[in-house]
């Protein structure tokens, strides 16, 4: 019984903390399908987190906070797009630069402004009827409104990517930009759009972390979640459904780690903290060989006439 209770507690924590991984991973999945890797996802997230926090504090509306988070992520991601698509520069270097810039800029601004007030959290929204479903109900139906919306985005993304013309064109931009170009599609525009979606989603993910779950901002708040999101995308084979599975799995491991820490486990906590990262490596090793879905032109700028 004790074990069951522990398992339930960990699961509840895992599902709500999965949102901050799910949002950026969904966005990064779209962008990678179009052939663009965003190493700077972590940077989009943290800048989204700060924008959400100040937006909420300054304008006293949590929705304006989320709006600003999305816009901040979008702006930073389009800087990445400008360098990697318009100027055809290296995606890893641009991403690394934006990550460092984002971390530095948010910490700089946060110290400069010096406000550390705690904001009010979004209330958990109970959906009558659903909560009574045994096991499942009490684990999944304890989210705030943004949490529910995030999980709803999974089928929306899946349909958009797999069942719409846009999804197909987006995939073409990542698999064979030449073919997309010859079919009359503007590869640059497709990629700008996809990177923008990644930026918005990562910004919202950071915003959720700041005002949706932790109700404050702190330096380095995102703690590597942007990088784990990239790993989840690979783990999930660039497919929204499996990305959801990956996000839940990772946050379960992370919650387990936190739980063991709180219980005063015999394993020293630094070794618990690395569990999700070690797991990522193991999963990568196990799945990369058969990663058939990898966008063929991931990380490669498209230059007309050079293919």
């Amino acid at each position: 019984m004790d074990l069951y209770e522990a398992f339930m507690n960990i699961s509840v924590a895992a599902v709500s903390s999965a949102v901050a991984l799910l949002l950026p991973a969904l966005g990064e999945g779209v962008s990678e399908r179009a052939g663009v890797l965003n190493i700077g996802t972590e940077g989009y997230m943290i800048i989204g987190a700060l924008a959400a926090y100040y937006g909420y504090l300054g304008l006293e509306s949590i929705w304006i906070g989320f709006l600003m988070a999305g816009v901040a992520g979008l702006i930073l991601s389009w800087v990445h797009a400008f360098f990697t698509i318009t100027l055809k520069r290296n995606q890893i270097v641009s991403g690394t630069g934006l990550w460092l810039f984002g971390m530095g800029f948010t910490a700089y601004l946060f110290r400069l402004v010096g406000i550390t007030a705690v904001v009010e959290k979004l209330k958990v929204l109970a959906i009558p009827g659903f909560q009574e479903i045994p096991y499942f109900g009490s684990v999944f139906f304890r989210q705030n409104v943004v949490g529910y919306a995030s999980f709803l985005l999974v089928p929306i993304f899946a349909i958009a990517l797999h069942r719409t013309p846009w999804g197909l064109v987006n995939k073409a931009a990542g698999d064979s930009p030449l073919a997309a170009d010859m079919a009359g599609h503007n590869v640059s525009m497709i990629r700008y759009l996809s990177i923008g979606i990644c930026g918005i989603m990562a910004g919202l993910g950071g915003g959720y972390l700041a005002i949706g779950s932790l109700n404050r901002f702190s330096e380095g708040l995102t703690a590597g979640r942007g990088f784990i999101a990239i790993a989840i995308v690979i783990f999930g084979g660039w497919d929204p459904k499996r990305i959801l599975g990956g996000a839940l799995f990772f946050s379960f491991i992370d919650s387990l780690q936190l739980y063991l820490q709180a219980q005063g486990s015999v394993i020293p906590y630094p070794l618990l903290i690395i569990m999700p990262y070690v797991l990522t490596l193991m999963v990568l090793a196990a799945t990369s060989k058969r990663a058939k879905n990898i966008p063929h032109k991931l990380g490669v700028p498209y230059i007309r006439g050079e293919e």
Partner: protein
């Protein structure tokens, strides 16, 4: 002559752009431009002693950059120098604290173990790539977190003296300390070692068979395999050497600067090195100049908060701006070179 002119002019233009953006940021935050720049300059190049401050930051940057040059030349995006550096620092501390040997041998053994620790960590990412086809960008990125926390684990639970409060190791034995070369400054023997190794890496890349295979694999791994080069082996060797040099960077910090292991042994040296290598066009001699420059930025930034109240993360902002803006430089240079009647110049790879 004209190529050099185009190159120099393009660098100047990009630096000017960075200066404009950076100055605007300082002004918008309500600080005096002149004071900030004066503090930055005084803290990095103001006197004999502060040049030493610049040099001791240049040392780990250069060593980590040398490792990255080997990996990047091989087409491997090793972004794990930071973690490799931490493990190298850990290895050097083990030898420095727990082994007693005559001075020269003590230092050499510490160097060897730090190279081995960092190298094996890099090799592991190479192994995941060659054996399991795992993308090295992600694996090296993840391995940073693991290495930093493992180092911290040993520091907190094993290296730290029992009654100590802060997570710092015991001091290394005096025999393991890298000697100070210039009295009254912090300039330690690691700096000339790093410079010598820069020459060695240049020689390795441009004048040896191994360097040829590394370049060949980086330029076109399928072609290299067709030409009879063992690609997997080259990848593993490159990753080992790459991690090893980053490990040496950690060694220099422990044996030359702190003389013990601290938690914050590296302020993102391993990540800044990525920018250095890019700006230096993956060239070891270029890396010397660029890492000196970044060493100066970091040294200048260290007093910003204390002296003028500018939050220290401004230095990270500056480094990030540099990395992004320097992506413009090759384009500008090409454009400038093309406008002149004299020759065009080739661009290096996909950078």
């Amino acid at each position: 002559m004209n190529k050099i002119f185009a190159s120099a002019l393009s660098f100047l233009i990009v630096m000017g752009m960075i200066a404009v953006v950076f100055s605007a940021l300082i002004r918008l935050s309500g600080f005096e431009l002149i004071t900030v720049y004066r503090v930055l300059l005084a803290g990095s190049l103001g006197s004999f002693g502060t040049i030493g401050q610049t040099l001791i930051r240049m040392c780990p940057l250069l060593l980590a950059s040398l490792g990255l040059i080997i990996a990047f030349r091989c087409g491997l995006w090793n972004v794990g120098a930071e973690g490799q550096l931490f493990l190298g620092a850990f290895g050097a501390t083990l030898v420095g604290v727990y082994v007693s040997l005559p001075s020269l041998w003590h230092i050499l053994l510490a160097m060897g173990l730090s190279f081995l620790f960092g190298g094996l960590w890099g090799w592991a990412a190479g192994f995941l790539k060659t054996r399991f086809n795992a993308n090295e960008v992600i694996t090296t990125l993840m391995s940073n977190f693991i290495a930093i926390w493992i180092t911290y684990y040993f520091l907190q639970f094993h290296l730290k003296p029992v009654r100590a409060f802060n997570p710092v190791s015991k001091n290394i034995l005096p025999t393991a300390e890298l000697p100070i070369l210039i009295k009254g400054t912090l300039v330690h023997a690691g700096i000339p070692i790093a410079l010598l190794l820069a020459v060695a890496v240049w020689f390795l890349i441009h004048r040896t068979y191994l360097g040829y295979t590394i370049n060949a694999v980086g330029a076109n791994s399928a072609g290299a395999a067709y030409g009879g080069i063992r690609v997997d082996r080259t990848v593993l060797i490159s990753m080992f050497l790459s991690g090893g040099f980053a490990g040496l960077a950690g060694m220099g910090e422990v044996l030359g600067v702190h003389h013990l292991l601290i938690r914050g042994v590296s302020p993102n040296y391993g990540f800044i090195a990525i920018a250095i290598v890019l700006i230096a066009r993956v060239n070891a001699f270029g890396a010397i100049i660029v890492s000196f420059f970044f060493g100066a930025v970091l040294a200048g930034g260290r007093h910003l908060q204390a002296m003028v109240g500018v939050p220290t993360p401004l230095v990270d902002v500056l480094v990030g701006l540099f990395i992004i803006s320097m992506l413009l430089q090759p384009l500008l240079e090409k454009r400038l070179a093309e406008t002149s009647p004299w020759g065009k110049r080739m661009e290096y790879g996909s950078l």
